[in-house]
């Protein structure tokens, strides 16, 4: 029995009522949670502007850059299409259809991933589930939040599309409200599908929901790629090809599909037919409301069951077995000394056991490989040396930018993530500089594998002459060295030890600085490659090793190696001084 008794002088908590009445009126819980979100966003923005103004400026500048680039790209596309009037009449609605079809897939996928994390793995869900709030109120707010999180960037992408359409295709004032309405009402349809998928996958595959979602997406992308490959088949004559193309494209223009409604609505709005556009707007709005109602009702009704299943899922090991990874690591890092090879093997295990890392890399580089292997089907006049050089340059640009994103997102946090093991690393009979170098060489091996493979396929499919091929290969290797050096070096110089979430480490101030440095490095390297390519295209002969080519390649190599060495040196110095 207790030997603690109440102290006579200690104030007692007065009892006013036993328990309390939770917010029971319809919508009270939703209002409460929306007010909570408002307070969280307000405090977050206040902190952001106070502590990290550079981060805010960097994000806004990058957004404006993307926004402007997309606007001009769309203007250019519409101009090109409009040059052939007859084809333009048919092609522009088709562009809308494909754009919104792609948007449906991307939104459904990102909603599924965000919904899964938000509903089943955020501590907030457990907290609210143990509270007297009705699960329906929580699901509604989380649904709205997921829509906002998954689609804000796409909404921003929608604005340049709207401006470009208005600029090039005309349309009266009714176009703007119609476009915005169609775009915004469309978003909940794939959003509802995404949340339903997250819930359904958790109910059916509670042990491996993320992997199922990722593999399903990969399969969907492969099927889409195959379909696109057959769609672009140039083997027939022009008229046969056109007939074949429209036959196959009619598959995605089915009148029962939401992306067809929004594409048709926008086509009518462009033509000034506000009544017809309004009809599609109402169709989309009605379907969006119905889809939202259904998904919220189903998920709320069986939320506790799904949550229980998700909580019981943490027992299965993710990724391939350890000995397979050990074998791959032995192969990949055979050139490293034993202890550094062990560190690289650990990082490789983390890479393979985090589906987010390997699937994102597989999807991005898979799509790129699919594109470059089909580049001859898509560009029919590749024998022209100028076009050949241009396409090769565009491929290098795409690979470099993806590598910059990948290294900033996944390589930069590598050193920060060692915060829990720092004491162990400190005890290792290995100088700290070598730990950083092991991480650099690990990242370099992975990025080289991906980058060099895609560029090699591109070179082979474009049948580039040897000298130009060698120049491109050397440049991509140099860019990999530069990017890995920047990410690891800055990750060691400005580590974020209080954070365990790699996405938050990458999204913080130092992660943003690293991303900006990587982008600047890539842009400068690509400007040099662009000048080199321009000279080669002017001469019209990629086979000759010109002075411009030599200087260009030497410049890119020097720049990237110097930047990499400087960043790594700064990082190693700082890491040596760190206390365990």
């Amino acid at each position: 029995m207790s030997n603690i008794t109440s102290h006579p002088e200690r104030p007692r908590i007065p009892i006013e009522q036993s328990g309390a009445a939770p917010p029971s009126g319809p919508g009270n819980g939703i209002l409460l949670l929306l007010n909570l979100r408002h307070a969280l966003i307000r405090n977050h923005l206040h902190e952001l502007f106070r502590r990290r103004p550079l981060n805010v400026i960097g994000t806004i500048s990058t957004l404006l850059l993307i926004w402007g680039g997309l606007y001009f790209l769309l203007i250019f596309t519409f101009e090109e299409v409009q040059q052939n009037v007859l084809e333009g009449i048919v092609a522009i609605p088709l562009i809308f259809t494909f754009f919104f079809l792609a948007l449906t897939g991307m939104l459904a996928f990102s909603n599924a991933i965000i919904s899964y994390g938000s509903l089943f793995h955020r501590p907030e869900s457990a907290y609210l589930l143990a509270s007297p709030l009705h699960p329906r109120d929580m699901i509604i707010v989380k649904y709205l939040e997921t829509l906002l999180l998954s689609s804000w960037s796409l909404v921003l992408l929608g604005l340049p599309l709207m401006m470009a359409i208005a600029n090039k295709l005309g349309g009266n004032w009714t176009f703007y409200p119609m476009f915005l309405g169609l775009f915004l009402c469309f978003i909940p349809i794939p959003g509802a599908l995404g949340m339903f998928l997250a819930w359904a996958v958790t109910m059916v595959f509670p042990k491996t929901p993320r992997r199922v979602l990722m593999v399903a997406t990969l399969a969907l992308l492969l099927v889409s790629g195959l379909w696109g490959w057959r769609l672009a088949d140039p083997s027939n004559t022009s008229s046969e090809w056109l007939k074949n193309f429209y036959d196959r494209a009619s598959l995605v223009q089915n009148a029962m599909l939401p992306h067809t409604w929004v594409a048709k609505g926008i086509s009518h709005a462009v033509s000034g037919r506000a009544g017809a556009a309004g009809f599609y707007l109402l169709v989309i709005l009605a379907n969006a409301l119905l889809a939202s109602f259904l998904v919220v009702s189903v998920v709320a009704r069986w939320f506790t069951s799904a949550f229980t299943r998700a909580q019981c899922s943490g027992t299965r090991r993710s990724g391939p077995p350890g000995r397979v990874i050990n074998w791959i690591a032995e192969l990949l890092f055979a050139y490293l000394p034993y202890r550094q090879r062990m560190l690289a093997t650990n990082d490789l295990k983390t890479f393979f056991r985090d589906p987010l890392q390997w699937t994102q890399m597989a999807i991005l580089f898979g799509l790129l490989a699919l594109y470059v292997s089909n580049v001859q089907r898509l560009w029919t006049d590749l024998l022209h040396p100028g076009l050949q050089v241009l396409v090769a340059f565009l491929n290098l640009t795409a690979v470099s930018l993806i590598l910059a994103t990948f290294t900033s997102r996944f390589v930069f946090p590598l050193v920060s993530l060692e915060s829990q093991q720092l004491w162990l690393l400190g005890l290792l009979p290995l100088p700290r500089g070598r730990i950083i170098m092991a991480k650099f060489l690990y990242a370099l091996t992975i990025t080289l594998l991906a980058g060099v493979t895609v560029i090699s396929v591109s070179i082979y499919r474009l049948q580039l002459p040897f000298s130009l091929a060698a120049a491109h290969l050397i440049c991509v290797i140099a860019i990999c060295i530069g990017l890995c050096g920047v990410s690891i070096g800055m990750g060691a110089r400005m580590p974020v030890f209080h954070e365990r979430n790699p996405a938050r480490i990458a999204g913080g101030f130092s992660g943003t600085v690293s991303l900006m440095c990587s982008v600047v490095l890539v842009v400068i390297s690509l400007v040099v490659v662009a000048f080199m390519s321009l000279r080669v295209a002017q001469i019209g002969d990629g086979a000759t090793v010109t002075q411009a080519m030599m200087w260009g390649v030497a410049g890119v190599v020097l720049l990237n190696v110097i930047v990499s060495v400087l960043a790594l040196t700064a990082g190693i110095r700082h890491f040596r001084r760190l206390q365990c």
């Binding site: 603690i4 029971s24 409460l32 589930l129």
Partner: protein, 253 residues
Amino acid sequence: MTPAIELHEVTKRFGDFTAVDRLRLTIPPGELFAFLGPNGAGKTTTIKMLVGLLLPDGGSVRVCGHAMGRDGQLAKSQLAYVPDQPFLYDKLTGHEFLDFVGRMYGLSRASQEQRTKQLVEMLEMGSFLHQLTESYSHGMKQRTVLAAALLHDPAVLVTDEPMVGLDPRTVRKVKDILRDMVHDGKTVFMSTHTLEVAEAVADRIGIINHGRLIAVGTLEELRHQASRSETLEDIFLSLTAEGQAEASETVPQ
């Protein structure tokens, strides 16, 4: 009298593994019940079913007479739960968090302010209440979560390792608060590994091992059951060692 907590034949399985096996437990109002067990014995799973975070595969859970499944909202309005890992919104201040919790439980503005003031004084939270919770130490977080749990004056407080990470002064305060609650007719269900705390504050003690409640009663009753007149630590080790031996006999090697 309606029991504060009633677990009837509660079972939870994770695949082939039975985490909680036909658990029967009734706790009346005005009792501090300490729930003990080795790691992986089923303590946290039981608590999660008790507060509605996990659905049992069999049996039923009732809080103040309300079934957790059917009348979940009513049962949860009588409960407060303090998990071992305190949850707070990083971008809220402690005061904003308490305000949110008060409104979630439907407290009036006046009574919420009064309760907040008293709890802040009692748990000595005044110095950090208006800072964002992301800057709090573990102890500050524990105190804030405890204040939030007590804000609506729950009939049942369920707490998982309430003393971990707290300094001795705060540990003493928390012990006092828990005893005061019990004195006022409330029920406290406390899971802990700290046997001294259980020995000091608990009215009854339950020991779970391999998902089964192997002993329940006052300290005296447990001494009698274990045929030992020693500390709770000795009794615990004696009872769980027997369970361990039984389990190792049944588990195929």
